[in-house]
C-alpha cells in the first residue's frame, strides 16, 4: 500500500470532488449549452452551430458523470446505496431525462423535417435542465440532512418522500446549479460560435452569472442559519468503516465552522464569486477563452465550498444524526481504496491527454458556412 488508510480516505474524498468537478466543467457545460440552445439559436442553422460545438465531445464528457457514479460505488458504497435508493424518484427523473440526450444529439440532424428537429431541440432542453436542476436540489437536501436510518446489519431505510425534496432551500440550490452551468456554457459558446449566436450566448451567460452571484450569496446566508452537523466523538480515522459508532449533534450555522477552523478554505467561496464576476468582465471585454477558465474556477469553487463546509460529512442523516455517513466511515476497505487509487493514478492522466488531443483537433469557431458545406457530416 502506498498510503495508510486515513490518507487514502482523504485522497478519495478529494478524488470524488475531482470527478464531480470534471463532470460540472465538461458535461455540465454541455447541459448549459443545451439549455441555451433555443435561446441563442433562432434558425435551424444557428442551432446546428451550437450543437456542433459539443457534438464530438458530449459523449466523452458524459462519462465524467458515469464514472463519478462508478467511483461512488467503489469508494463510498454506503453513500451510493443510501443516496440513490433514498432519492429514488429524483434519480429516475434524472435517468429518464438523460435518456433523451444521446438520441437527440445523434438523431436530430439525420432527417430534414423541421418538426423532427424542433422536437429534438426540446428533448435536449429537458434532458439537460432536469438533471442540472435535480443535482442542485440533491445537494441542497444533503446540506439539510437526509431522513434515513440504518439497522445493525447496515440496511438503509429512507423515511422521506419525493416531494419533501422540493423544499425552498433545495430549490434555490437547484437554481444555483442551473445558472452556474448556463453561465459556463455562455462563455463556451461565445468562444466557439460566431456572429449573433456568440453575442446572444455571451449575453445570456452574463445574465446567468449575475443572478448566480446573488443566489449563491443568498444560499450562503441561508446555510449560516441552517442546522449543521458536528461530530462529538468517533472511532479512530484509521479504523475500519463503521458509520454506527459515532456521536453527532446538530446546531444552527455549524456548517460554517470549518471555515473558521481552517481559514484557508475561505478560498473556495471566494473562487466561486470571483470566478463568476471576473468571467462577466472578461466576456464583456470579448475574452471568452479566459472567461471559460474563469467559470471553470467558479465551478471548482462552488463544489469545494459545499464539500469543505460539510467535511467530513458526505450524507448526514436528519433522522438519526449519529449514523450520518462521513468520508471516514462510509468508505471501502483499505485494499479497495488503494487499488482504485492506483487505477485513477494511471488512467486519469491518460484520459486527460487524449481528451485534450480531441478538443485540440476539433477546435475552431463553428460557423453557419461550415455546417452548410458539410450538412451531411455534421450534427
Amino acid at each position: 500500500m502506498i498510503f495508510d488508510y486515513e490518507t487514502l480516505k482523504f485522497i478519495w474524498w478529494l478524488l470524488i470532488g475531482v470527478l464531480l468537478i470534471g463532470f460540472a466543467i465538461t458535461d455540465g457545460m454541455d447541459m448549459g449549452v443545451a439549455i441555451l440552445l433555443r435561446l441563442v439559436g433562432k434558425t435551424d442553422l444557428e442551432r446546428r452551430t451550437v450543437i456542433n460545438t459539443i457534438g464530438a465531445h458530449w459523449d466523452g464528457n458524459q462519462v465524467w458523470f458515469i464514472t463519478a457514479g462508478g467511483a461512488l460505488f467503489a469508494a463510498w458504497p454506503m453513500v451510493y446505496a443510501a443516496a440513490f435508493s433514498g432519492f429514488y424518484f429524483a434519480m429516475l427523473l434524472v435517468l429518464f431525462a438523460l435518456f433523451l440526450r444521446p438520441l437527440a444529439f445523434d438523431y436530430r440532424s439525420k432527417l430534414e423535417s423541421a418538426q423532427w428537429r424542433n422536437n429534438w431541440d426540446w428533448a435536449l432542453l429537458v434532458g439537460s435542465i432536469v438533471p442540472a436542476l435535480v443535482f442542485g436540489v440533491a445537494f441542497g437536501n444533503v446540506l439539510q440532512g437526509v431522513p434515513f436510518d440504518m439497522d445493525n446489519l447496515m440496511r438503509v431505510t429512507y423515511q422521506g418522500s419525493f416531494f419533501g425534496l422540493l423544499n425552498p432551500f433545495a430549490l434555490v440550490a437547484g437554481l444555483v446549479s442551473v445558472l452556474m452551468l448556463v453561465g459556463h456554457a455562455g462563455m463556451w459558446l461565445q468562444l466557439r460560435t460566431d456572429a449573433e449566436v456568440a453575442s446572444r450566448a455571451a449575453q445570456y451567460g452574463r445574465y446567468a452569472l449575475s443572478v448566480f452571484v446573488i443566489l449563491f450569496a443568498g444560499a450562503g446566508l441561508w446555510v449560516a442559519n441552517l442546522d449543521g452537523y458536528q461530530i462529538i466523538s468517533m472511532p479512530d480515522t484509521q479504523s475500519y468503516a463503521n458509520p454506527l459508532a459515532k456521536v453527532v449533534t446538530t446546531s444552527s450555522g455549524a456548517w460554517l465552522d470549518n471555515y473558521s477552523k481552517m481559514p484557508l478554505t475561505i478560498i473556495f467561496p471566494v473562487l466561486a464569486f470571483a470566478g463568476a464576476i471576473i468571467a462577466v468582465v472578461l466576456s464583456k471585454l470579448n475574452k471568452p477563452a479566459l472567461g471559460l477558465v474563469s467559470t471553470s474556477l467558479m465551478l471548482i469553487g462552488v463544489i469545494m465550498t459545499a464539500g469543505a463546509a460539510m467535511f467530513p460529512f458526505v450524507m448526514p442523516s436528519s433522522n438519526n444524526p449519529n449514523i450520518s455517513l462521513t468520508m471516514w466511515d462510509a468508505v471501502s476497505s483499505h485494499m479497495t481504496l488503494n487499488v482504485m487509487f492506483i487505477a485513477a493514478l494511471i488512467f486519469v492522466p491518460i484520459i486527460l491527454t487524449y481528451t485534450t488531443w480531441c478538443y485540440v483537433k476539433m477546435w475552431r469557431k463553428v460557423t453557419q458556412d461550415e455546417i452548410q458545406n458539410n450538412t451531411h457530416g455534421s450534427y
Binding site: G60, V63, T67, F73, L95, V156, N242, M335, M362, N374
Partner: protein
C-alpha cells in the same frame, strides 16, 4: 418478513432494463471491429468504396449506439437505486471493476466515438482510423470489466466477509480480475457480439443483393461480414460459456439444471438433446440423449463426472445447517461479544453464511428455522429446471443455425457465386434476429441460472433489494417500460429508414437512389 411481490418486481425491473440494454450492446461490440476492418482496407488501398462502407455502416452503428448509451446509464445507477443492500454488501468488491470500466473503457469509447462520427474532415486518414480503433478497444474493454464484475457474482473469488463492516471485502484484486469464470464469459460474450454485428451486416447486405441494389457495395460488405461472422461463431461455439461451469458451486448448479441432470451419471455423461423435465418426479420424460456429449462439453474430458441435482441438494443442506451456526455467531459478534473464540468459530463457518441467509425468507432470526424450513431452503437453492433447460437449448439452436448460415455464406462468397444462391441470401436476411434471441436467452441462462443468489453462495437475491415499496416499483417499472418503448420505436423506425436508403444516405451521388434520380432528371431533360 420478505415481501415476495416486492422482490419479484425488483428482479423484473432489473431483467427488463438489462435485457433491453443488451439489445444494443452486442451490435456495438461487433460493429466497431467491422468498422475497423472496413476502414483499414480504405486506408491501405485508398479505395473510396471502403470509406463509404465505413461511413454507412457507421451511421447504422450510431443509431444503435445512442440507445445503448442511454440505457447503459440505467445500469450504472440501478444497483444503488434498487439493490441498495447489495451495493452496501458487495460494493467494496463489485464497485471496483465498475469504476475501472468507466476510467479505462467508457472514456476511451465515448471520446473517440465522437471523433469517429465528426472527425472525418478534421483528422488525417490514419488518425481517423486510429480513432475508430480506440473506439473499438474501448467498447470491448468495457465488456471485459463489466464481465469481471458479473463473473464475480457467479463465482465470488478474491473476497472475504468482514463481520465488523458487515460486508464482503476485497482480498485479492488479481483473483478478481483473473477469475476463470469472468475470462470465459468475456470471450463468449464479446464473440457473441461479433456474431450479432456480422449477422446484421450479412443480412442487410443480402437484402441489397436480392434487390440488385448497390451490388459492389453490398458484396464487399457481405464478404467482410461472412468472414468475421464465421470466425466469431466458431469462437462462440468452441469456446462456449459452459467450459466455465465446472468452476464454483453455483456454476455446477447451472450445469445440472441446464442439463436436467437429476442424479449424477457415470462419466462421461450423455447430453439430453430434448425432453420434458419434471421437477416433482426429478426425471426428464421423453428424453433424447446423445452419449458422451455432456461429459465432453462440460468437463472437456471423458472421465470427470457432472454432479447431479440430488447430490448437490445434499451438499446444500449441510451448508445451510452450517450457515445457521455462522449466523448465530455473526449476531454475537455484531452485538459486541467479539471474543477471540467467537471470531475463530465464525471464521471457520463464514463461507456458509450465505446458505444460512437463505432461511431469512422464512424466519428473520435464521437460527430458529424448523426442519421443514430448512428443506424448503434446500429446494430454493436451485433455479427451476424448465426455464434453464429450454433457454439453453434455444440459445444453442440459434447458434447452430447461424453456424450453417455463416459457413455457407463464406463458402459461396469465396467461390464468387453468392448472387446465384438466392435461398441463402434470404436465409441470411431472415437470420438477423437469431443472434439477439440467442443472446437474450444466454443472459437468462447465466443470470436466472444464478438464482436464488445475487452473489453466488454469499447473498440471496431477496435480501439484496432496496427498502422501497411495491408501489414505488410499479411506478418505476411503468416509467421504464414507457420510455423504453418510445426509445425502441424511434430507434427501430430510424434504423429501418436508413437501412432502406442504403449507402444513398451518404449523399455521395454514387449510389442507387441518387443514380435513379439522376437518370430520371436526364430522361426528363431529354424529353423536354
Amino acid at each position: 418478513m420478505i415481501d415476495e411481490t416486492f422482490v419479484d418486481l425488483s428482479r423484473l425491473q432489473f431483467a427488463i432494463t438489462a435485457l433491453f440494454h443488451f439489445l444494443f450492446v452486442p451490435l456495438t461490440l461487433g460493429m466497431t471491429w467491422i468498422l475497423v476492418i472496413m476502414e483499414s482496407v480504405y486506408v491501405m488501398t485508398g479505395r473510396e468504396i471502403y470509406r463509404d462502407m465505413t461511413k454507412f455502416w457507421g451511421k447504422l452503428f450510431g443509431i444503435n449506439f445512442a440507445v445503448g448509451v442511454a440505457t447503459g446509464l440505467t445500469m450504472e445507477f440501478e444497483f444503488g437505486t434498487n439493490w441498495s443492500y447489495y451495493s452496501h454488501y458487495v460494493g467494496d468488491v463489485f464497485g471496483a471493476p465498475l469504476a475501472i470500466e468507466g476510467l479505462m473503457a467508457f472514456f476511451l469509447e465515448s471520446t473517440f466515438v465522437g471523433m469517429f462520427f465528426l472527425g472525418w474532415q478534421r483528422l488525417s486518414k490514419r488518425q481517423h482510423l486510429g480513432a475508430t480503433f480506440l473506439m473499438a478497444i474501448g467498447t470491448n474493454l468495457s465488456a471485459l470489466w463489466i464481465l469481471i464484475a458479473n463473473g464475480w457474482m457467479q463465482n465470488p473469488v478474491g473476497a472475504e466477509f468482514n463481520y465488523q463492516t458487515m460486508r464482503m471485502e476485497m482480498t485479492s484484486f488479481a483473483e478478481l480480475v483473473f477469475n476463470p469464470v469472468a475470462q470465459v464469459k468475456f470471450i463468449h460474450t464479446v464473440s457473441a457480439g461479433y456474431v450479432a454485428a456480422s449477422m446484421f451486416v450479412l443480412g442487410i447486405s443480402s437484402w441489397y443483393i436480392l434487390k440488385g441494389r448497390d451490388l459492389a457495395f453490398a458484396k464487399r460488405s457481405f464478404s467482410v461480414a461472412s468472414g468475421f461472422g464465421l470466425a466469431s461463431i466458431l469462437c462462440v461455439i468452441l469456446l462456449g460459456d459452459e467450459s466455465g461451469y465446472e468452476v464454483g458451486e453455483v456454476q455446477k448448479v447451472k450445469l445440472a439444471t441446464i442439463e436436467a441432470e437429476w442424479h449424477t451419471e457415470e462419466a462421461p455423461a450423455a447430453f439430453t438433446a430434448v425432453g420434458i423435465p419434471d421437477s416433482d418426479e426429478q426425471v426428464t420424460h421423453a428424453a433424447v440423449k446423445i452419449p458422451y456429449a455432456l461429459g465432453i462439453i462440460a468437463t472437456r474430458s471423458l472421465d470427470e463426472e457432472v454432479t447431479g441435482i440430488s447430490d448437490l441438494e445434499k451438499k446444500h443442506e449441510v451448508r445451510i445447517r452450517n450457515g445457521m451456526i455462522a449466523y448465530e455467531y455473526l449476531e454475537k459478534l455484531r452485538n459486541g461479544d467479539d471474543t477471540a473464540e467467537n471470531i475463530a468459530k465464525f471464521d471457520t463457518l463464514k463461507d456458509d453464511l450465505g446458505y444460512g441467509l437463505l432461511l431469512k425468507r422464512y424466519t428473520p432470526n435464521v437460527v430458529d428455522a424448523t426442519e421443514e424450513q430448512i428443506q424448503k431452503a434446500v429446494k430454493d437453492s436451485f433455479p427451476r429446471v424448465g426455464p434453464m433447460f429450454w433457454s439453453f437449448r434455444i440459445m444453442v439452436g440459434c447458434g447452430v443455425i447461424m453456424l450453417f448460415v455463416f459457413a455457407l455464406s463464406f463458402y459461396y462468397n469465396a467461390h464468387r457465386v453468392i448472387e446465384q444462391k438466392r435461398w441463402l441470401l434470404k436465409a441470411a436476411l431472415w437470420s438477423i434476429p437469431l443472434p439477439w434471441i440467442a443472446i437474450e436467452f444466454g443472459w437468462i441462462v447465466a443470470e436466472y441460472g444464478r438464482q436464488p443468489w445475487a452473489i453466488s453462495e454469499v447473498l440471496p437475491t431477496f435480501l439484496a433489494t432496496s427498502s422501497l415499496t411495491v408501489n414505488d416499483l410499479l411506478l418505476s417499472i411503468t416509467g421504464f417500460v414507457i420510455f423504453y418503448i418510445i426509445l425502441a420505436v424511434i430507434e427501430g423506425w430510424l434504423m429501418l429508414k436508413f437501412v432502406k436508403l442504403g449507402p444513398s444516405s451518404l449523399h455521395t451521388g454514387k449510389y442507387h437512389f441518387e443514380l435513379e434520380k439522376a437518370d430520371q432528371q436526364l430522361n426528363q431533360g431529354a424529353q423536354s
